[in-house]
């Protein structure tokens, strides 16, 4: 039972207290682009969660192997990235040859898989010595964190588009960056720490 609560707390932590996109900047490029056209948001977030959970779980289990655990930073990065690529390839083969998925569907899966948000999780979990339940929970939370981030950015973009008081030089991408910065500041407040000396 504690395994379930560890998983749940890790997921909630990844979504709210330390939103992976705003507190670490992971996956913000895709979040911004998805915020523009959010129709495939659920599918994309589902893929992110799926690949995050699988990759984090496999990498966490590999870390229990002494030979893998003793590897240095570069080798660990190569192993984790290789695991991610392998998980994607297996999934893509199943989609392509088993379910006859279209090229667009496969591309969506690819973008979701080969994403900084997905690769960051096993690296972070190793840095924090997270257990298997924490790793799976963080993976589940990554998809929800992505949905939250996209919803916030999309709502902000709609408001910014109607605001005619934005200085000319800030219209478009600049004000979007500032808006994301304020979102990140708001969510970073949960993690504590001093912002000003």
């Amino acid at each position: 039972m504690s395994w379930f609560f560890d998983l749940l707390s890790a997921a909630l932590y990844a979504v709210f207290l330390q939103n992976l996109l705003f507190s670490g900047g992971f996956g913000t490029t895709e979040a911004i682009r998805t915020a523009m056209t959010p129709r495939r948001l659920i599918l994309f977030a589902g893929f992110i969660s799926y690949f995050s959970v699988l990759t984090s779980a496999v990498c966490r289990m590999l870390d229990d192997v002494p030979a893998v655990n003793a590897l240095g930073w570069a080798a660990h990065t190569a192993v984790f990235t290789g695991v991610l690529a392998a998980v994607y390839l297996v999934t893509a083969c199943a989609l392509r040859f088993g379910l006859k998925a279209s090229r667009r569907f496969l591309t969506t899966a690819g973008i979701a898989a080969l994403n900084s948000l997905v690769l960051a999780l096993p690296l972070m979990n190793r840095g924090t010595a997270a257990g298997l339940a924490d790793s799976v929970g963080t993976g589940l939370g990554s998809g929800l964190a992505f949905i939250l981030a996209v919803a916030l950015i999309n709502a902000g973009l709609k408001t910014l588009a109607k605001n005619k008081n934005i200085p000319r030089a800030f219209r478009g991408t600049p004000v979007m960056f500032v808006y994301v910065a304020l979102l990140a500041l708001a969510l970073s407040g949960f993690s504590g720490g001093r912002f000003f000396s």
């Binding site: 930073w73 994607y88 200085p167 910065a181 000396s197």
Partner: protein, 382 residues
Amino acid sequence: MPSDNKAAERFSATMLNRAFVQNPVLVGALGLCPIAGGAVSLQAGLVLSGAFTTGMMLNMLAAHFVLKKLPRWLRMPAYVLIALAAVCPAGYILETRAQTLLSSVGIYLALMAVSSLISLRSEKTFVACTLKRSFSVAAAECAGYAAVIMAVSFIRELLGSGTLWGVPLTKVYFAPGLLLPFGGFLALGFLAALHRGYIARHFALRGALKDITFDLSAAAGPLITPAADIPERKQAPPAPAAEKPPETPVTQPADETDGQEDTQASDTVPVPGEAPAGEINGNENEPEDATSDTQAQQPGGFAVTPFIQAADTDGETADETPAQERGDAALEDEETPDEKAQTLPADGGEIEAFTDEKSDEAAPGEPEAQPASKDREGGEAP
């Protein structure tokens, strides 16, 4: 040799357009994660820039010579694994010689392997274009990305740590919060605003400066001051509202153009004396033609203008790409009957970075950066 001069001019035009005017970060919002999270000092920025440049060049070579023979769903993980060949050696060197710097950069060096900018450019440009074109685009993208990383690193180290290149500075007020991703996004926002203001002041764009977020020019006025508002240009007749964008951008005369390869029309050196009419944002005069193929009107009243269609081709149309590469790309785009039956409806909901089928065609109203010249219309640029 005239051909050498022409090639040099094209290269410099590509560098100007890709690295500066259509900067992939400040305009396209690509590759944000390492900048927002990892660019916290000049040394870290240098490491990230080096890893990115190496990964981009390796992918350029691999995509051009090998990967274009593979289907897209196999190419995508290949980009990541090839970029790893740049990331892992850098990480190993830092681990053995500069452990503190590796701790500072953190996992963001590893995340360079999954950089969206490398994957996007490899898929959209390196696979389909000639080697010369791919090299010029890669060099420009690397220069633009590195410039932004170093600028953000400089700002954040100075104002976030009170140091420069690790040397503490006295009497400098610093805010540690700027070392968080919020500081990175804030720095990017102000840099992007500075960039946009400079572009508006010094470049006469034929089309809209297309960024990925939304096109505010229709809602909130043009980005560039219309010619009628410039005192010394009030004599210039304004362009008619229904004027279509020119079929061909400003280029060298046809008999001097090398049509065999590197047909980057908008990357050619601007021809003096051929300023665009009124130096107006293309959306003001040509709101529909300039963006009709690229915009999707979203609920909430703002139009989405994908950056990818503007930046990927720089005026290069499908008809201008070498026939062999176009044929290879076309073969890969063919769907089997089963795939066609299973194809999800094209509702525009896909991430346009990878799934836009027409992204290799030139978008109408493609911005062509031309440095403002005093000689052009008898007055200073706005």
